[in-house]
């Protein structure tokens, strides 16, 4: 059953150097606060997994936490490049970053296979693109045992730890996700351990019976972190801060401005609340 803990102790207990880690979310519900705490605690050699690595992965990579990235689209949505990701790939700064690259459909199938306890997942399709040769261990072609048609098999993705942000948890530790979930649910079900940050704890989730609920027994730890998805958003709580995403482009463009921002806002902030106050967005 899920236990309620501070984010600091949750990261200290669950996240180890060298692990495969998925902080999922798809524009919505991105666990920024958790990513920042990983940076504060100085984890290294992480294998980061995410369909759409965005600012928080740019930050983790730029601060030297990651040795490998498995992903399907790495950009600043609606803005442009992730400069720290590019610097790591193009110039190995601050350290080399190995890539394992999929399409969205493939990485989604890999998470789904992991969630289903399957060793591999299947996609219908054609292998006429260069991603297969560039990532030779990432997929295999097999023949459909019935039609003979070519299928692409992907190995199950099973993160050591998946970290999500969600709207809320009830006192028993059941967690409600509402709105756009991307592959967050599948990444949670595929994980060996699951940490969720939530906006609040409530007496009852008061959710529809077919809502997206992660039952307490699937969740290892829950940390209550209001605003924990900022500058991403939490449906029903606060909107996305598009201006921060735009500002990030110039903050992250140069190594010096990036490090200076990270030190002042993340390293020198004891927690997420302090960061939100520094940024002037705490209400």
């Amino acid at each position: 059953m899920a236990t309620f803990v501070s984010l600091t102790s949750a990261i200290a207990e669950l996240v180890r150097d060298g692990q495969t880690l998925a902080l999922e979310g798809f524009t919505h519900l991105i666990p920024f606060a958790a990513g920042h705490e990983i940076i504060r605690q100085g984890r290294r050699d992480l294998h980061l997994v995410r369909m759409t690595p965005d600012l928080v992965y740019d930050q983790l990579i730029g601060m030297g936490c990651a040795g490998k990235l498995t992903f399907s689209w790495g950009g600043n949505p609606g803005v442009g490049s992730l400069h720290r990701l590019r610097d790591a790939v193009e110039n190995a700064w601050p350290r080399p970053l190995a890539l394992c690259e999929y399409s969205h459909a493939e990485l989604a199938a890999a998470y789904s296979a992991g969630a289903a306890g399957l060793s591999s997942g299947l996609l219908q399709g054609f292998r006429d693109t260069d991603l297969y040769a560039a990532n030779p261990d990432a997929t295999r072609e097999i023949a459909c045992p019935f039609s003979g048609a070519p299928l692409t098999a992907v190995p199950a993705m099973r993160p050591d730890v998946t970290i999500l942000h969600a709207q809320r948890a009830d006192r028993d530790g059941n967690v409600l996700l509402r709105g756009i979930t991307g592959a967050a649910r599948e990444a949670a079900l595929a994980a060996l351990a699951l940490l969720v940050t939530v906006e609040e704890q409530v007496d009852s989730l008061d959710a529809d019976m077919n809502a997206i609920v992660l039952p307490s027994f699937l969740v290892d730890a829950i940390a209550i972190v209001p605003g924990g998805a900022y500058p991403s958003y939490t449906q029903g709580y606060y909107p996305r801060d598009n201006s921060f995403y735009q500002a990030w482009d110039s903050i992250a463009r140069e190594r010096e401005s990036f490090l200076s921002w990270m030190n002042r806002h993340v390293i020198d902030s004891p927690d997420h609340s302090a960061l939100l106050h520094k940024l002037g967005v705490a209400a």
């Binding site: 992903f71 609606g78 490049s81 690259e101 399709g125 979930t181 449906q235 967005v281 705490a282 209400a283």
Partner: protein, 276 residues
């Protein structure tokens, strides 16, 4: 020197491209939409001639009817106005792979004469000069959508004779190779540029300039293309945006600007979800 359509007092390049894309969309079509110009085109079409257009965004929203344009593929507006919001893996299985998408929109850093696309890297993959965001949903959109609409500004660096990396399949090597391989979708049926529209030749599959914007000369388009661009025998002159199209598009963009200008404040002692 390439010379696309210029901004003028009547309308901008972006507006001409958006209106041209919107005009391609028949009412009732199921569209797999990307952010930016495709999203503007789809919602403009929905407000004009195609009220029953079904918009699917890869983040998981199906049948969404945003009142303002999203800035990200997963804006709350898309969820709030959707018929249903589902996990992303099901967008790619139940909708795209299952053949339920009529039109998929794609863009890229590079396109070749057969509509193959590069959104991965410039230079060697293992040591790139420019690392691009990557595949995202593109390879499967390119494979499974019944038709693909590409929207890209044309320049010799983007319309190239040879891709640095093939991220998504168009007509492969052309001359019917895509159809012969048994792809479920028909591939790129139109490439909407800032000069006009390119469409595949029915036999060779090579992209040919078939439609041109007012005030643009075919020679300018040819100069902007990195391969020897063929021009259709009967080059169509596209009509400029109508007053209705322009008014509707500008109103949509203005609503969008106002909505996104609201400053964000994070309640650290959250109101209960239900009260929001």
């Amino acid at each position: 020197m390439s010379q696309p359509i210029e901004n003028n007092s009547q309308y901008t390049q972006d507006e001409m491209m958006t209106v041209t894309a919107a005009r391609q969309l028949a009412d009732g079509a199921v569209c797999f939409v990307g952010i930016g110009l495709p999203s503007a085109a789809c919602n403009l079409a929905r407000e004009l001639h195609a009220p029953n257009l079904v918009l699917i965004y890869e983040s998981g929203t199906v049948g969404t009817k945003p009142r303002v344009l999203p800035l990200s593929i997963g804006d709350g507006e898309l969820a709030e106005t959707a018929e249903v919001v589902i996990p992303l893996p099901e967008i790619f299985t139940h909708y795209l792979q299952a053949g339920r998408v009529d039109i998929g929109f794609l863009g890229a850093a590079q396109i070749d004469r057969f509509g193959n696309l590069n959104s991965t890297a410039i230079g060697p993959y293992d040591n790139p000069k420019v690392r691009l965001p990557g595949a995202g949903g593109a390879p499967e959109i390119a494979t499974h959508a019944k038709s693909v609409l590409v929207i890209m500004r044309m320049s010799p660096k983007s319309f190239v004779s040879e891709l640095a990396f093939r991220t998504s399949s168009g007509f492969l090597g052309g001359n019917g190779e895509r159809a012969a391989r048994g792809y479920p979708g028909r591939g790129p049926q139109a490439v909407i540029t800032d000069f006009g529209v390119l469409r595949p030749h029915p036999e060779t599959d090579e992209l040919v300039l078939t439609d041109i914007y007012p005030g643009v000369d075919a020679a300018d388009a040819i100069a902007a293309c990195g391969w020897p661009l063929q021009v259709a025998d009967e080059l169509q002159l596209l009509a400029p945006p109508t007053a209705t199209e322009l008014a509707q598009l500008r109103a949509l963009n203005e609503r969008t600007r106002v909505a996104h200008a609201m400053p964000v404040k994070i309640p650290l002692v959250p109101k209960s979800f239900n009260a929001v």
